[in-house]
């Protein structure tokens, strides 16, 4: 089966590109990135603030079941063209990887499918590589936290 999510990360470059085909109408795909309720569900993190407009900003936070902050991130939205494009910064707090610039391009394929191209640029090659490695750990943590929450609810 052809992969739905494709990653391009060339050696010695401070950027990567991810493209993904979705079985979703363009409008729904775009809302997954611009509405807090949706973002919280698929990212598995709390959205403290999300102003989906040019010059708006956002803050994300994840706490463990004991209330300890596991993850915090924030950024500023530089461009937001409905159903077409988002340009924003993303910065993970307390992580020595700096700020990344993210360009999201959305396009319709059919009435029921759409495509996303995500281009992410870092301050240096080292930082990009660091994030790609750290991102893995983060992803595993998130999955673990969700599992923990489910288990905690089950216990009650």
């Amino acid at each position: 089966m052809e992969q739905k999510t494709r990653l391009t990360a060339e050696d010695g470059k401070q950027e990567y590109t991810i493209t993904r085909d979705f079985d979703l109408p363009l409008d729904l795909l775009f809302r997954a990135f611009t509405e807090s309720d949706f973002l919280e569900q698929w990212m598995g993190t709390k959205v403290l603030k999300l102003e989906s407009k040019k010059h708006g900003s956002y803050e994300l936070e994840t706490k463990d079941p004991q209330g300890k902050v596991m993850f915090r991130a924030n950024g500023t939205i530089h461009e937001l063209i409905p159903n077409r494009k988002i340009i924003r910064t993303f910065e993970m707090e307390n992580a020595p990887v700096g700020v990344q610039l993210e360009v999201y391009e959305f396009e319709p394929v059919t009435d029921d499918s759409s495509k996303l191209r995500m281009h992410v640029i870092y301050e240096s090659v080292e930082k990009r590589d660091q994030v790609m490695k750290f991102g893995l750990v983060q992803g595993i943590n998130w999955a673990h936290n969700r599992l923990q929450e489910v288990l905690n609810n089950y216990k009650k």
Binding site: E2, D11, R20, L29, F38, G44, L116, M132, G135, G139
Partner: protein
């Protein structure tokens, strides 16, 4: 030519992934590899050429036959951090897709 990008294009193709699986445990000739597919022999040859060019496969002359075997170092390099990172996003986007499908207007 950028090798890393080509490696990813190489392993994105299902036929080429199957070829890598076939030669993972033993060296095989082009003919032996092609016999596993319904596709035409030149198509398989093309896939072998791409995999060899991006150094995922290595050729070894044995008498009159050329055997293909996997380049373990290269495979490891690819799978070490790029492929898990891709899968992380794949999982995230799969989740996005399944959640958002619930909000599709009913027809």
């Amino acid at each position: 030519m950028n090798l890393r990008r080509d490696v990813f294009q190489a392993i994105a193709d299902p036929t080429r992934r199957t070829i890598l699986l076939l030669v993972a445990t033993q060296s095989l000739t082009a003919g032996a590899i092609a016999s596993n597919f319904d596709t035409a022999r030149p198509t398989v040859s093309k896939h072998l050429q791409i995999l060899t060019e991006c150094e995922l496969l290595e050729q070894e002359q044995n008498g009159r036959e050329i055997y293909y075997h996997i380049n373990a170092t290269r495979m490891k390099e690819v799978s070490d951090f790029l492929e898990p990172f891709r899968q992380l996003w794949d999982d995230r986007f799969n989740k996005l897709e399944s959640i958002m499908k619930n909000y599709k207007p009913k027809k």
